[in-house]
């Protein structure tokens, strides 16, 4: 349907032209534009590899967006060209999304002219991880020194994005229940820096202590994981957090793993396969009716599912 001028777009992106960057992201977000995306990625690939990817995750309400606003302002103060990607959850019922992260950092974005883009998680349909990854590539090619990626911290796609982040911040706040409980499942391991927000609250000290205690039980690596208390509304200790992020960036780039490309490729492969399977199931007509038919014949759900999957991807499982 469309033959966008990819050449011009790629040039615009590399020159740092905001409308080009923005349009480029729209293309990689849209799976019906896969051909355009592939052309675009080819053209910008040799300009990538310099951006520092900072992942911010944590339960809802701990202040991720506000903190990112503060961090971005701090980076601007330090003359760093930064950008933000925030992921919002789509409604599983209607597919619609309220992209609300932006509003918490709006002032900081406006004052410092930071590029910020909201992405919708699209629920079970997938595609977020590859869209986010391609968005990072575009920002990389456009010359941004860093990108802060915010996720809701749950769901497969979120974890995938965290796999490609260089520095991972795990954010928590006191008063939301047992902290160790909520961050233990794998997050202790993936986090590089642990941030306790809302340190003006009285339980904050205990929260910091709790996390420090559980970190002490992890096998020690070459990077020592730290806990930092901040206040994302006043900006208290955000400078110290920024120092630690910078320290981790230096550490990461000095010890840069050589399998980054492979990890990225795996994310694209998974997303693309999910997309193709979705597409194929759509083409196979009314699967719901098929399922009903199987159920009415007295077939159990497990064996019924095997039949349906066989119908979609055409291999005897």
């Amino acid at each position: 349907m469309s033959r966008l001028n990819i050449d011009g777009l790629a040039k615009g992106i590399i020159a740092g032209d905001i409308p080009s960057i923005s349009r480029g992201i729209s293309i990689v977000e849209d799976h019906s534009q896969n051909y355009a995306s592939s052309e675009l990625m080819k053209k910008i690939y040799d300009r990538t590899g310099r951006i520092h990817i900072i992942g911010v995750t944590g339960p809802p309400g701990v202040g991720k967006s506000s903190l990112i606003g503060m961090l971005a302002a701090e980076m601007s103060k330090r003359k760093q060209k930064t950008s933000i990607i925030a992921v919002d959850a789509s409604s599983p019922f209607t597919g619609g999304t309220l992209l609300g992260n932006r509003i918490r950092m709006q002032d900081s974005i406006n004052q410092n002219s930071i590029f910020m883009r909201s992405l919708a998680s699209r629920g079970f349909k997938g595609g977020l991880s590859s869209a986010a990854l391609s968005t990072i590539k575009i920002l990389d090619a456009a010359g941004y020194e860093s990108v802060i990626v915010e996720t809701v911290g749950s769901g497969q796609a979120d974890i995938d994005i965290m796999k490609i982040a260089h520095t991972i911040l795990v954010l928590h706040a006191p008063g939301l229940g047992d902290i160790v409980q909520s961050i233990k499942a794998g997050i202790m391991e993936i986090g590089d820096l642990f941030v306790v927000n809302k340190i003006d609250r009285q339980e904050a000290f205990l929260a910091i202590k709790d996390i420090e205690d559980s970190l002490a039980m992890l096998p020690s690596g070459t990077w020592t994981k730290k806990v930092i208390g901040v206040n994302s509304l006043t900006g208290e200790h955000v400078g110290e957090l920024m120092d630690e992020i910078t320290r981790h960036r230096e550490y990461y780039f000095k010890n840069r793993p050589d399998d980054e490309g492979i990890r990225e490729m795996s994310i694209y492969i998974e997303d693309e396969m999910r997309r193709i399977i979705n597409e194929r199931s759509r083409q196979k007509g009314d699967l719901h009716r098929e399922m009903k038919k199987l159920m009415s014949r007295g077939i159990d759900p497990f064996n019924g599912a095997l039949k349906i999957v066989d119908k979609i991807i055409g291999t005897e499982v």
Partner: protein
Amino acid sequence: MADGKSLSLFKDKPIKVLLAKPGIDGHDRGMFVLAKAFRDAGMDVLYAGLLPTPEEVIDTAVNEDVDVIALSLLNGAHLTVFKKVSDLLKARKIDDIAVVGGGTIPDGDKIKLEKMGISGNYGPGTPLATIIAHVTQRAADARRKKLADR
């Protein structure tokens, strides 16, 4: 209300709409009602927050590459502020983002706004389905322009 999803143009990327109240106007209840209605129609919805300047509205719209900017004012400044938004878009040579309006807008002003390319201009009591249908239609125009070869 599946209006937002019915078009093949939006199959893999839903309509993206930015709600904004530029100008000194804090009446945002209507915006929240619309935000929810648009989301339930399957759209990606952004809200620019209270008191953004027209420049900030455009910056957000460009960063996010929205299809539609939906402006609302209840303070009577629509002829000044909506015009500013539309002028800024023209100055930046952006023609693939549609602008719609709403709020308390006298009938006489609606014609003037239409001439600036700001359509809809619905008042209180308009059924949500009407607004969704209109936004969907304007979004389709915008999306067609975005996808056009140029």
